[in-house]
Structures are given as structure tokens and as C-alpha cells.
Symmetry: D2
Subunit: 296 residues, 4 copies
């Protein structure tokens, strides 16, 4: 059993604390929200951990994570390990690792997949960092990852940054998978070629080539709302899809499916995009085609 700090007790961190404690680990959690926090400050959290410490940071990527790492660079010391389990961009990891290395603090970047279901099912983990640091944190990883062979829900992907890189690609794939199911759903809806779209999709859960967890979730969503019309077709994107596409560009890798999935999200958030106004304007110019006037 290990002792550890856990910073960030939102949807993900809160559940992870539960799962870690259920596995018998001692978790000192900190969150700005005092109601869920076990401690009052990062300083206090550090003081409650015996050296060498392990602190898992689970806060939003970008500034919040960066600020937390900087804060810990002044609180942790030789032999401690900081783990960034957030959805950080892989390029942040080297910067964080170097800052901490200057204080003798080890660094691991961990891509964590599984969403709100991870508490029960375990989280898929992709880890970047040194073998020694990974080894020390393994009891934590073993508690968080799903049941079954370790190598099916955990990978030591490589050195610092490799964990978040693997998670980024995972999420890029995820964008493509979701869009593939979404296009199929829309075609079934639009064509009216089958009588009961949810029943057809539910019938794909066993035996078929498309069986998958995302399909199970789609079935679940359709059980609750058979035409999914309680929702708007407005879809955010959270970074990994963009970074995957940037990396595809950087590596000259064709990524038509992942880019299509990302652009579908961009377009879902637009109304009367400039591009389509331009196409409408061009058609009007050459063909005198009827167009819809704005506010008409």
C-alpha cells in the first residue's frame, strides 16, 4: 500500500481517489473546493506525505496544470515524483520535467482514459517517464487500471511525454470512431430504411465487427432518448483532436478521418458559417440561384 497526494478532485480526480482508497492506498486529496478536499493547501498536502512522496496532479490541462507544477517545484524535493494525469499536451511534459528535475523531483505523464466509468471499470493508462519512476508508481497504476492482464490496460509508452502522446493519439482515434457511428446513425435515421433504429444498433452489440464500448454507450444513450432529440448537435472539442491533427501534419501522415471528425465538431458549433455564405454568394453571382437572405 502506498501513500500519495492527489490534486484536483473534479469528476475524474474524485472518482480516482475512491478507486485508490478502495484498493487500500492512502490518498491525501486537495481541491480548491473545500467540501471535497482533505487538506487546506498544497503545502499542507505535502506536509502530510512522508518522503519520498508521490503527488498526482489531475487538474485541467494548460495553465492550471502548469501553475500546479510550478507550485510543487517549490514544495517537493529530491526523490519525490510528480505525476501529471491530466489531458496535457505532450509538449508541456518536457518543460515540466525539466523544471522538476532541477529540484531532483521525478516526473511521469499519464494519459488516463475511461471517463466517469473508470471508477468502476478501471482506467486505461498510458505512461511516459523513466522506468524507475514508473516502477515506483506501479502500485498506484495497478489500483487505477482495469482488472485483467496489466498490459491490456496499461502501457509504459516511453520517456517523458510519451504517455500524453499516446493518449492524444487515442483520443484522435476516438474522434474518428465516434463520427463513424454518428454518420451511420444519421443515415439510418434519415433513410427510414429500418423500422427501429435503436433496436438495430442494440443488435450490433454482440457478434458484429463494430462491437465496442462506444457502441454500448450509444445503445445506452438511445435507451434513454431513442431519437437523441433531447440534445443539441453542438459538440465541443478539448484539444487532443487538434493536436493529433497537428502531429499528423508535422509527420506528413494523411489523417482524413480524424480531420473530418474534428471539422464536423467545428461545423456543429457554427450557424451560417462564412464559408457557406461565400458558396451561397458565388452561386447567386453566376447562376442567379435563389439564396436565403439573412433574417429573411
Amino acid at each position: 500500500m502506498v501513500q500519495m497526494g492527489l490534486v484536483g478532485l473534479g469528476k475524474m480526480g474524485f472518482n480516482m481517489r475512491e478507486r485508490l482508497r478502495a484498493a487500500g492506498h492512502e490518498v491525501v486529496g486537495y481541491d480548491r473546493n473545500a467540501e471535497v478536499s482533505d487538506t487546506t493547501s498544497l503545502e499542507d498536502l505535502v506536509s502530510k506525505l512522508a518522503a519520498p512522496r508521490i503527488v498526482w496532479v489531475m487538474v485541467p490541462a494548460g495553465e492550471p496544470t502548469r501553475e500546479t507544477v510550478v507550485a510543487f517545484s517549490n514544495l517537493l524535493g529530491e526523490g519525490d515524483i510528480l505525476i501529471d494525469g491530466g489531458n496535457s499536451k505532450f509538449t508541456d511534459d518536457k518543460i515540466n520535467a525539466e523544471l522538476l528535475a532541477a529540484k531532483g523531483v521525478g516526473y511521469l505523464d499519464v494519459g488516463v482514459s475511461g471517463g466517469v466509468w473508470g471508477k468502476e471499470n478501471g482506467y486505461g493508462l498510458m505512461v511516459g517517464g523513466s522506468a524507475a519512476d514508473v516502477e515506483r508508481a506501479m502500485p498506484i497504476f495497478d489500483a487505477l487500471r482495469p482488472e485483467g492482464p496489466r498490459e491490456e490496460g496499461f502501457s509504459h509508452a516511453g520517456s517523458v511525454g510519451a504517455g500524453h502522446y499516446a493518449k492524444m493519439v487515442h483520443n484522435g482515434i476516438e474522434y474518428g470512431l465516434m463520427q463513424a457511428f454518428a454518420e451511420g446513425f444519421e443515415l439510418l435515421e434519415a433513410s427510414k430504411a429500418v423500422d427501429d433504429v435503436p433496436a438495430v444498433i442494440k443488435g450490433w452489440q454482440r457478434g458484429t465487427v463494430v462491437r465496442s464500448w462506444l457502441l454500448d454507450l450509444l445503445v445506452r444513450a438511445l435507451d434513454e432518448d431513442p431519437e437523441l432529440d433531447d440534445l443539441e448537435g453542438y459538440v465541443e472539442d478539448s484539444g487532443e483532436g487538434r493536436w493529433t491533427l497537428e502531429e499528423a501534419i508535422n509527420n506528413a501522415v494523411p489523417a482524413p478521418v480524424i480531420s473530418a471528425a474534428l471539422f464536423a465538431r467545428f461545423a456543429s458549433r457554427q450557424e451560417h458559417s462564412a464559408a457557406m455564405r461565400a458558396v451561397a454568394a458565388l452561386r447567386q453571382q453566376f447562376g442567379g440561384h435563389a439564396v436565403k437572405k439573412a433574417g429573411g
Copy 2:
């Protein structure tokens, strides 16, 4: 100078009659709209033409064209020629040609490009049919096509159907060109990286690689409405784009640009598509991600 019938005096046919008459040809026009029609019926039109006759049909593709061809199959005879200048699907041409051939009537299918500007600039023409029939109709083609070398605004593309096929591919390309300009326009608008988007685009009209008639039309549209916000971004499609994509599929030709342009039009006409509601639902299922509730 030739004598000819012209059926369908809408935006295209009306202008074509003007251009043909300006070239000295005798045009007997028919339209259901008596105000623009020169004659009261197809029968009457045929009676006004000396055999062997040439009749140009310029009505909407599909049923209207088909009905007109059937009607003429009972009115025209040996040695006459019927020309379908509409945006018919190339697969209709063989059917029409066979029906007419049984009566000794020749058939030409003509793809006509140029829109409302054709009256002044001339129309780009792509023709399918026999060399003999093309030869007989050449004075008409020469009147309709733009100034300059014949082969730069006219082609005898092949046998029956080839004219509409060439026009279909032309329009498929056109979809791609328009979308390319549209994406560039949107990026300039969104990035705010240049001070005056219309000025930048206007400055592309001479010397650049992208100079083109569509660019000229975009400049014209921006002159009238610098942010194109008088229009909705709602774009119809009229068949040729779909057929081009079907033919790409039939011939195993990758057509990522043409399909993307077509799908952008489909999407422009949707609000809260089933696909994007499905993606939103999936994100909510696995991540507890916030979604927009319909009507919320």
C-alpha cells in the same frame, strides 16, 4: 443563319434566345409562360419550323425534360434533331436518344455552362452525339459559345451522353473550387490576420495562381456585401455534384475534395444533425461532458 425551336425560356433559355437572335438566327421560342413565348404549343412550334428541324430543349432536368422529349418524339420526324441543353443526368441521354432514334430523330446532349453571364460572354458548351448531328447544329453552337477559338469554349465530347457527362464533371470540379475559396475566405475572416479581407481577395485577381472567374465573382459579391452577411449559409445542390460522386464511386476514383464540398452543402442545410447529436450523446455518456439541451 439557321432556324430553330427553343423550349424553355427561363433564366437560361431566355438569355440564349437573345444571344442566338443577336447572331442572326431565327428562334421560335416556347414557354408555358405566354408572356415570353413566341408560340402557343409544342405543336405550333413544330409547325413553324421547316424540316429538317432543330429543337433545343432547355427545361429542368428529370421529369420536365423527359416529358418534353416524349412529346417531341410524337411531333418530330426523320431528319430532325432534338438537343437537350439542360442539366440532365447522362444516363437519361441514352434513353432519350433511343426513343427519338425510333422516329428517325437525331439527339444531342449539351452541357451548358456560364449561368446568367452567358448571354454576354457566351456559354461553354460540351456536346455528346454523332458527328453529323453536331455538324448540323454547329451554327447554333458557334452563336452560343464565347468569342475566341472554338475549341476553347466548345467540345464534342463523344457519343450520346458524353456532353452531359463532361458537364457533370465540370460541375463537380466547380463544387470543389467554390469550397476551396470559401474555406480560405472563412479563415481570413476568422483569424483577423488581415485588415481588409475583401481588399486581399480583390488583390488576387491578377498575377496570382488562384485567379479565376469564380474569384472575380467572389470579388463582385464582396463589393456588394463586404462580409457576405446579407446571406444565410444555406446552400442547395442541384444534382451534378451527387452524380459526380456516384461516378467516382463507380470508377473507384478517390474524390475527397468533391465529396467534402458536397457534404459541406448538405451540412449547411442541417441544424442539430442526427450525427452531431449522436457525438454529443456519446461524449455525455463516457465523460459526463456538458451538452446543450435542445430547446434549453
Copy 3:
């Protein structure tokens, strides 16, 4: 236990006969290959079945299936049922059903998913036809479908054609899913950002959002060939992807992911495509850019 005929004992039909027999059903199989056939002719097969008969046809889509249906229309009679379990286009089903209905023979179209694994795992089934015919064939479906709740591996999708339509969409989705994984794999390979690509992918099998049967199969392939370099990147397509895209066009459904996946297959079979020769030619024309001369 039911008695049935099964025509076509290739990879799929052969395995299905095994699974049906293991479930206790009496299967009279016919194949042109006498070594695997239980009977010498379709006539003989019919003579071995007591009326009312059920015959399952499992031969290649298109002409072979059509010919088999026509043959049975002269062999089967009132009260018999013919099931097409092949990958037929949904538009064939109505034609087949009408031909058979004239003889009093019922018709079911069944989309069968699961490939060579179906013998052991069961097949996902999507069925089109009348409720009464489906009910009669249910013991067969129950034997073929996977263990577990019937509705998770079987659907009665609607009337004639709905089963193959559902299977078509299933396969369209499958194209998109495969391409999404493929793009992610290529990016991991190209970027060299992780140390052991197969280990990372294997680590996605549990807990992650992308866990799925296709991922399991990718892991299996990588176990055998860690860089997948025993294979050429040459990918056939077998119809359903094309039909899905056609139906997307017909229903004005944007399908950027499914089309991208299909086009990637088309492109995988090309070397020096006309399109890319055209782009190379254009670059040479305007920029004097160096190009690769064919055979150079």
C-alpha cells in the same frame, strides 16, 4: 430443432453449418465443391427437406445470389422460406422477394456479421422480412447469434431489404472505425514518439474509450507482425462501403468519415494516380517545380 438447407459452404457457410449442427439443427448443405457438399444439386437438396422448407443462401452477392434465387423460385413452393444471408445490396431484396412471392415462397434478407470468428462467437444478425417468416426462422437465428440476450446480437430491422440495409450501414461504420485506428497507428509509427507501438495499442484493450473488437484484432495482428510489414497496404472494398456512401448521397447525409475511409482504399490500390499526376503537372507548369519523371 429445425431442418434446413444451406447453399454455399465457403468460409462463412461452412462455419455456419458447423454452428447450426452444434446447436442440434439438421442442415443439408450444398456447394459446387463436392468435397464439402451434402448433396449433389439444388433439386436434390430440396428433395431432402420436408415441407414447409427453409433454405439459407450464402453465396457471393450479385449474380451468384440472383441465380440461386431464380433457381429456387422453380424448386420451392407455397409456405417455404428462402433466406439470403449474403452481402447483397438491399435493392436486390425486393426483386428477389417479389419473384418468390409469386410462388408463395417467403423471403428474409439477413445481414451477417462476425467473419471467421462467428463459428465460435456467434454471428451478429440483422433481418428484414415479415414477422411471421422471422418467427419461423427464429430457431436458426438463435443458433447462429451469439450467446446473451437475443436483442444484443439480433434485430428484426424491418420489412424486406431492411436487414441488408442495416448490414450495409454497419459495414460503412466499420470502414470508418478501421480507418480511424489505421490513422492512429500510422501516426504512432511515423512520429516515433512512443517506444513500442504494439505495447501502447495493446494497453488500450481495457478501460479506454476506444476498446473494441477491432482493437483486439489489431492487437492480434501486431502480435503476429509488430510493424505489419508482411502485408502490402493494398485494400479491397466489397460493395457495402460504396452503397453506404450512395445512400448518404441519396439522403443528403454528410458522410465525410465513411467516404474518407472508402477513398483511402481506392487510393491504396493506385500507383501514380491520374489526379496526382495532374497536380504534379500543374505545379511544374506554374512554378517550374521539380517533378519526378515516370520511369526516371
Copy 4:
């Protein structure tokens, strides 16, 4: 008439010197290739210009341009202007401008379009920088740009970086336009639906919606090589397409056409890509589909 330095006398710079001199300007050219150079070094070039000087840099983007700018930051002084006319990334411009501003040297970034034809036709110019600097360099721009109204071949796009940004978007559009023509060409080739593909395309040059300079160049290429089979379908990309796509991502602008065009180039340079090997492997795994063995 103005006096100016011009550094880089490759395909573009050499032609520009000709055009500038033909307009009566005094151009001191420098190139590492002594055969075309008017001077022996950047120092010598500067010494030959009377202050306040204007120096146009026309060397490859990236390191070569950067090094040249750094060198001039030590050679030029108060009131001089350096113009970067290369295909630099817009993000480089601010860095260059700041370095030079510290020495009192003005900076203009100019996107130059028109390729090898610019010498004769003039170059399309997009300029970023201060109004005062633009004004001073206007005689140069007027000499380089095409005949006709200035605003149709020149734009002052905005402050530093705006010129290269405008050029980047121009080139992104150009990628899309080229790919659209390329797809249409391939479909005409593959379908064999028209008798003479080059004749059809030549016939699009006048009157049609797709008439454009790129079309004219395609006609020119087809005149020389009617099936374009002297070329390999291997297409480089030179940065602007990638940057346009990155900017689309940064601004959440859907860019399906521009990305498709870029990815088609990436794919044109691959043989047996990892992605398509993965798809082949997956098909083999689930379906026992035949695959092509590498080296088979």
C-alpha cells in the same frame, strides 16, 4: 525610378530583377552563385546602395531567410527597409521585424504569387507592414505587379505578417483548386465516358464557371503530354498548405477541402502506408480476406 538591392537570384529572384530593370529601376542583385550575381557579398551590395536603402530578400523560407535577415540587421541602418518576399511563415515576420526595428530598419513581408510566369505577366503581391514603408516601396510593387488596376494585383493586407498570412491562405486555396481539377481529370480518364479528355478540358477555357489560370495551365500540360504519363504522381508540399491547416485548426475553421488536398499529397508520396497495412491486417483478421503479402 528607385534603387534597390535584391538578394537571391533563383527562379523567382532572377526573373524579378529582369522585370524590375525593364521598368527602369536600378537593381543590385546578390546571389551565392557568382555567375548571376551583381556583387560579391551582402556588405558590397549595401555599399552600392545610397541610403535610405531598400533591400528585397528572395531566398528560401526558414533558416536561409532568417540568416539573411540577421546579416542585414548588422548592415542596414536607420531609415532603411528590408522586404522579405519569400514564402516565409507569417510567424517569422514579427521576429524579423523586431530585430530590424531595434536598428531603425523597417520591415515589409510580401507574399508573391505567379511563379515563373510573373516575369511576363507580373506578380500578385500581398504586403504586410506600415503604411509609410509600403508607400516608400510602392514603385517597386508597381513594377512587379501585373498591368491593370493596382488593387487587382496588389493588396496592403495589414501590419507585419499580414502579407505572408494572405499568401499562406492563397496557397491553401490553391491546393484545393488543384485537387478539384485533379479529381475531375481522373474521373474523366477512368470513366472513359468522353472520347478525348484533353479536348473536353480545353473546351472549358472560355465561358464556363471553372475557367481559370490553373485550368489554362492544365490545358498547357495536356498539350504537351495528353495523358500526363510522363510524370509520376508524386507531389511535394512546401509549407503553406500545412500552415493554412494549422491556422484553420487554431481558429476552429472547418477546412475539409484544403486538408483533403494536403493529405492527397502526403499519400502520393507513400507506398504501402502503415495505415493501409493496418486496414489490410484488420480485414485479414476478421474476415480471412485475402491480402497481398509484401514482396509477394
